[in-house]
Amino acid sequence: MSPFQLNDPGSSFHDLLQSQYPQLFLGRSETLPAGSDPQKLLQSVPHGTTILSLRYRDGVLICGDRRATEGYTISERRIEKVFKTDKTSAMAISGAAGPCIDMARLFQVELEHYEKLEGTLLSMEGKANKLAQMIKANLPMAMQGLVVVPIYAGYDLKRKMGRIFKFDIAGGRYEERDYYSTGSGGRDAKATLKRLYRSNLSPEDATRVALEAIYDAAEADVATGGPDMLRNIFPNVKLISKNGVEDVSDETVKTIYETMMSELGGR
């Protein structure tokens, strides 16, 4: 937001950070030392993979697997990629884990900061636009390979419906009607979503569809983590409705997977 007065930094935390702590600002452009190989460097940075979102009867569901990879190595088995950003919205992240998590944290503060200063919540549209601007500011980093590609989903209190937004690295913001999936296993997950998606799914059915999509992505994509029954690590699922953001518990997810896998057998 442009400052109203000369000495007033406005209501955006992102802008405040840029003006007061430029060294902490995400989009700063740093040149790599001469002779370094960006490709090799990138392989030593953990990357998050498959995330998805779909609309259901009461709002919108958002989900992510738990794996992070460094090149061909699994660097993290329990990483969380789905973050509650305010009372009625959440974002899931894929791309370079560090900048992704940083952006999610910054976006959480951004929304809270605005709410406290202005005494009112941003509209769903306004939040998605702000996130798009933050991704656009990250473009110099994205050009060096540190890409941040989130899905933003939330319940629009004015329109009384769940909404899904996807982004490109240049800050493009697009709204999806029914479902969307991205990340390395995104294509496989999308195929499952396309096959199983119906409008007005119950929360239980929507959860099952999401979990099956992650399962299929994990089957086909090495960078996506499926259910780990041995260690009890399961994808994160959040249901967002007018009542807020609700976590689907690991026990529920485990039960769904057990039923699903016995039904699928070796298929």
């Binding site: 950070l17 944290r105 503060v109 406290k116 005494g119």
Partner: protein
């Protein structure tokens, strides 16, 4: 050539203090008070311009006096808290650090600027346990007071403080609300008009951000309870 008048520093400070006090005494009062499960903030305020605000997870702000001036300070406080919480962590944001920052700023305005701030503010924090609670009162000249159990700012602060120190007991939210209403309605003609109050709590039963406003409807419910 006209000679500038000499004014002794003592006289200047006295004049400034008198000016600030006069400004503050014109406004209505706000009470901050501990209750069993949190901290109650109760303002005599009929307008939609807030005197009470959330600063951070466990910290709230109360302003009295000139709105434009304490609004400026409120925003500066939120920026300070959010920045600290982002750079370090959420638990590193404390009311004491914030109260000190306020005290420094207000103090330097008082000694350096021609016009002092006509404000008095409270920075209130709800600790993990009751012993960790903090109520900091900061005056127009930057002087800072660490209050126990309750504090009052605004026009009628002295009288209200005196009655509170006689009547205050650590009670439930319902009793605390009724006591505040009784005190703030004394000597007022529009008795019982709940629309004229701005009320919020830091609620120990909540998680994360503890600040919660109590709207007119639920306030009336509390007042009807016996």
């Amino acid at each position: 050539m006209s000679m500038p008048y000499y004014v002794s520093p003592e006289q200047m400070m006295q004049d400034k203090a008198e000016y600030a006090r006069k400004g503050i005494s014109r406004g209505r009062s706000t009470i901050a008070m501990e209750y069993k499960e949190g901290m109650l903030l109760f303002a005599d305020n009929a307008s939609s311009l807030n005197k009470i605000s959330e600063i951070y997870d466990r910290i709230a702000f109360v302003g009295a006096g000139k709105y434009s001036e304490f609004e400026h300070l409120r925003k500066a406080g939120i920026r300070h808290a959010d920045m600290t919480g982002y750079v370090y962590s959420r638990e590193d944001v404390t009311a004491r650090s914030l109260a000190n920052a306020y005290s420094q700023t207000i103090g330097s305005v008082f000694s350096q600027e021609a016009k002092p701030l006509e404000i008095e503010i409270l920075v209130v924090e709800l600790g993990e346990h009751r012993e960790g609670n903090g109520i900091y009162r900061i005056q127009f000249d930057g002087s800072i007071h660490d209050e126990k159990s309750f504090a009052v700012v605004g026009g009628n602060a002295e009288a209200l403080s005196a009655s509170l120190s006689e009547q205050y007991v650590l009670s439930t939210l319902k009793d605390a609300l009724q006591l505040c209403r009784k005190l703030l309605s004394e000597g007022e003609e529009d008795k019982g008009d709940e629309g004229a109050f701005e009320v919020a709590v830091l609620d120990r039963n909540k998680k994360g951000r503890l600040f919660r406003r109590i709207n007119k409807k639920s306030l009336e419910k509390y007042f009807k309870l016996q």
